[in-house]
């Protein structure tokens, strides 16, 4: 937006620029807040500061060559973006992924979900003023980072999956370390709960704030924990099963309005804590049922999928992460479109920001888990 912002002629509104360079917006986001000093009339988001043309870049890369770019779509849930892209191309090619690779994919995806939720929960509490839980969760996230570094050599942008499977096999020692991590981490979630989740001040800041009813949530296209917090019981892992998820036994937490109404910020917060627990459960099942075999199917070096289009989605940490891929028989995609949960999450902010206070806006952005690179691509 390049318009010059002026307040209304009778100077009743203050137009604040919660701009791209701000300690609390997650990534490079800009909000133009119309407020009377404390209560907002509306908060208009301004996106595009992190647009890197990743969808256009896909049209210039070969199918396997685009995999590192998928890391950068969302650096916090890398395995999910990798997997969404890989499953899309595999659907077009018709390859079948070996069972060991499927279970390994689920394993690293759930580990990544835990890591992503750690950052999200830490950022929520940090934005609300409690700095310590963020550092504690980062300490735990370091262990996941170390596991991932041992596995694929990278701490943030893993580039682990390939079309047809995964790229590295897991040594037994690594599986033992993963089990040690799980033994260590499950009590830490309970400690987090006892320290900060039910803190009076946190409940006052988040309960009953920015309630998103189920119709609004579905209407604006919210996905993932945001959608489930509003009471809509939809999880792609269970309802449109893919990969090794049909073999896994897990619960899907849905918002219950524990400390307020269904769909308030506290629901969005507590659901992510519960999801971390469920991810630990899935991880233990993966560890117990890891089949032997190949880790990657045979795929040509320069795959030429037949002409066609496919939409393939996975349940990322921020919800349904979808890839819409059109191929025209050449080694490079014709069109690749990403459908991410953060974009919908951002679009609802203007709708629910009426009547909130600026302090609540920060809580809303944090609990909706808006990540700028996923939004702008």
């Amino acid at each position: 937006m390049t318009e010059v912002l002026q307040s209304t002629p009778d100077r009743e509104e203050l137009i604040l620029n919660m701009g791209p360079h701000h300690p609390s917006t997650h990534g490079v986001l800009r909000f133009i807040v119309h407020t009377d000093g404390e209560i907002m009339r509306k908060a208009v988001p301004d996106v595009g500061y992190l647009h890197r043309g990743l969808e256009k870049i896909a049209e210039l890369q070969t199918y396997p060559g685009y995999m590192p770019f998928t890391d950068r779509i969302n650096y916090l849930e890398v395995m999910f973006t990798n997997m969404a892209y890989a499953t899309a191309v595999e659907k077009l090619l018709g390859t079948e992924v070996p069972p060991r690779a499927e279970v390994l994919r689920v394993l690293v995806c759930e580990l990544n979900r835990i890591a992503s939720h750690q950052i999200t929960l830490g950022c929520i509490t940090m934005d609300l003023g409690a700095f310590t839980p963020f550092v504690h969760l980062l300490r735990e996230r370091e262990r996941i980072n170390d596991l991932m570094e041992a596995l694929c050599g990278n701490r943030l942008t893993f580039n682990y999956m390939r079309i047809g499977g995964v790229s590295q096999d897991v040594p037994d020692e690594w599986l033992k370390q993963l089990e040690a991590f799980l033994d260590h981490f499950e009590p830490v979630i309970d400690e987090f709960d006892s320290l900060i989740s039910y803190n009076e001040i946190l409940i006052k800041r988040m309960g009953e704030v920015a309630v998103i009813c189920a119709e609004d949530a579905v209407g604006f296209g919210l996905v993932g924990p945001n959608l489930r917090a509003s009471g809509v019981d939809w999880d792609v892992r269970r309802d449109l099963p893919y990969g090794a998820y049909p073999q896994m036994d897990f619960q899907v937490p849905v918002g219950m309005g524990e400390k307020g109404t269904v769909g308030d910020c506290f629901d969005r917060f507590i659901i992510r804590v519960e999801e971390m627990r469920q991810s630990c459960k899935i991880l233990r099942q993966c560890l117990a049922n890891l089949p032997e075999g190949d880790i990657k199917a045979k795929v040509p070096k320069m795959p030429r999928p037949p002409k066609g289009e496919v939409y393939s989605c996975v349940e990322g940490a921020r919800g349904e992460l979808g890839v819409y891929l059109i191929s025209d028989g050449t080694p490079k995609p014709y069109r690749l479109k990403w459908r991410t949960g953060s974009f919908a999450g951002l679009s609802i902010i203007e709708h629910i920001s009426r009547g909130l206070m600026i302090a609540d806006l920060v809580a809303v952005i944090a609990t909706l888990d808006v990540i700028a690179p996923e939004m702008d691509r």
């Binding site: 003023g129 310590t132 041992a150 800041r205 600026i358």
Partner: protein, 430 residues
């Protein structure tokens, strides 16, 4: 101060003008000394905050500059002095420059009547309590001025909110203090301490249940006045980028910062004086203390220890709690604290009317409240240990921690931390 001056003058056998000059020199020395002490205290508090924050967040905190990081605050001060002195073009020049001075003067001038020891008070004003609470109100003016003069919407909002907060929370703070003044019958700080005793059941904290309540009211209101979390909305980084001191940099910012930390110590010192018996040593009367330098020193150490524990609690609160929203903040003040503190004051007055001081029932109430307070403390400690054990962790009181030495599994760890790093590189590459 006069007694000290007379004592030295008699020793040196001076008279007339020389006595006056000696007195003047002594006063100047004492005032400068108090200011330096206050500056050092607030500098050390910034370091203490960072160390305590580090330990709470399971990391170390600054430990490089000087032994255990004790010179970190000097390094910070030096760095801030060397920064560019930037005044925004659109800012209101004189007001922008004046605001930090008001904050510094307002807070440091209050140290003149903080009773560090029985004879260690720069000026034992007979209106000590009023003076303390009044001179710290200069901070409000300074904060408001900085918000307005910065000519920045964020600063303006922050400054107004800060001023509204500080000013509102003065009411319950003063009302809680007045409960103590009721009991002691004097406004002078040394007088209030002298009316207490060394043992905990002589303290005003455990005088009766209403003063016990008054302490918590005062402490809450003082933390809110000092703009500390959970009441630190005016300087909330994640919301208003730093509120009223957004545009300040370098030494001007240091003025605000030092003022805030000196304020923390000040409010702890006031709480110690009013509620915890100040420099009184258990089992020693003030007359005995007046005659011996050793006991004076012990009194000073006791006062500093009590005030430091108060500071530790304030720092602990900051790194544990989220912050309150501004409307919740104001509602806590006017709906809960003000009526409660009025009630507390009235109840204390009724107590004083009904129960004669020093009688048997008075002493029973002292012991009873002290026992109750002790019980509360023990329950708190038990809960802390219980939570630590239930997570499967152990208590780590290693405040001098130097960081973990490779506690992670080296087969998974790709690096080591801290001072082992160099060795590893030279082994690998060299």
């Amino acid at each position: 101060m006069e007694t000290l001056s007379n004592y030295i003058a008699d020793y040196l056998e001076l008279s007339g003008l020389a006595r006056e000059i000696l007195y003047a020199v002594l006063i100047v020395a004492v005032a400068a000394g108090v200011f330096m002490v206050a500056l050092t205290i607030s500098g050390l508090l910034t370091l203490a905050e960072r160390r305590v924050a580090g330990r709470i967040q399971s990391r170390v905190g600054p430990n490089r500059v000087g032994p255990l990081g004790l010179l970190q605050w000097l390094a910070d001060g030096l760095k801030l002095i060397m920064k560019e002195d930037l005044v925004p073009a659109a800012a209101d020049g004189p007001l922008f420059r004046l605001a930090p001075y008001l904050v510094i003067v307002g807070v440091f001038a209050a140290f003149v009547s903080v009773p560090f020891g029985q004879l260690l008070i720069a000026a034992d004003l007979n209106v000590g309590v009023i003076y303390l609470l009044a001179i710290t109100s200069l901070v409000t003016v300074g904060v408001l001025m900085s918000g307005w003069a910065s000519n920045n919407k964020w600063s303006l909002l922050g400054g107004i909110r800060a001023a509204a907060q500080i000013v509102s929370y003065e009411v319950p703070a003063v009302l809680a203090v007045l409960s103590v003044v009721l009991l002691s019958g004097t406004l002078s700080m040394q007088g209030i301490i002298a009316a207490q005793g060394g043992w905990p059941w002589h303290w005003y904290l455990f005088h009766n249940p209403f003063t016990f309540l008054a302490f918590f009211l005062y402490f809450t209101a003082a933390v809110a006045e000092g703009n500390r979390t959970p009441f630190d909305l005016p300087e909330a980084e994640s919301e208003l980028v730093s509120g009223y001191n957004t545009e300040y940099s370098g030494m001007r910012f240091a003025g605000f910062f030092l003022g805030e930390f000196a304020n923390i110590y000040l409010m702890s010192a006031i709480a110690t004086t009013l509620f915890f018996g100040g420099w009184q040593i258990p089992g020693v009367t003030p007359e005995q203390q007046a005659t011996s330098w050793g006991l004076q020193l012990v009194g000073l150490l006791i006062f500093v220890a009590k005030a430091s524990i108060g500071c530790f609690v304030v720092i602990w609160l900051r790194w544990t709690f989220p912050r309150l929203r501004v409307d919740q903040l104001m509602s806590v003040c006017y709906r809960y604290l003000v009526p409660l503190s009025l009630l507390c004051l009235a109840a204390n007055a009724v107590y004083m009317l009904l129960i004669p001081a020093g009688s048997m029932i008075d002493r029973i109430i002292h012991y009873g409240t002290a026992a109750f307070g002790g019980l509360v403390g023990l329950i708190f400690l038990w809960r802390v240990f219980h939570h630590i054990r239930s997570v499967g962790d152990r208590l780590d009181l290693n405040v001098l921690a130097r960081g973990q030495k490779g506690r992670f599994d080296p087969r998974i760890q790709a690096r080591r931390y801290g001072k082992f790093r160099k060795k590893r590189y030279s082994k690998e590459t060299g």
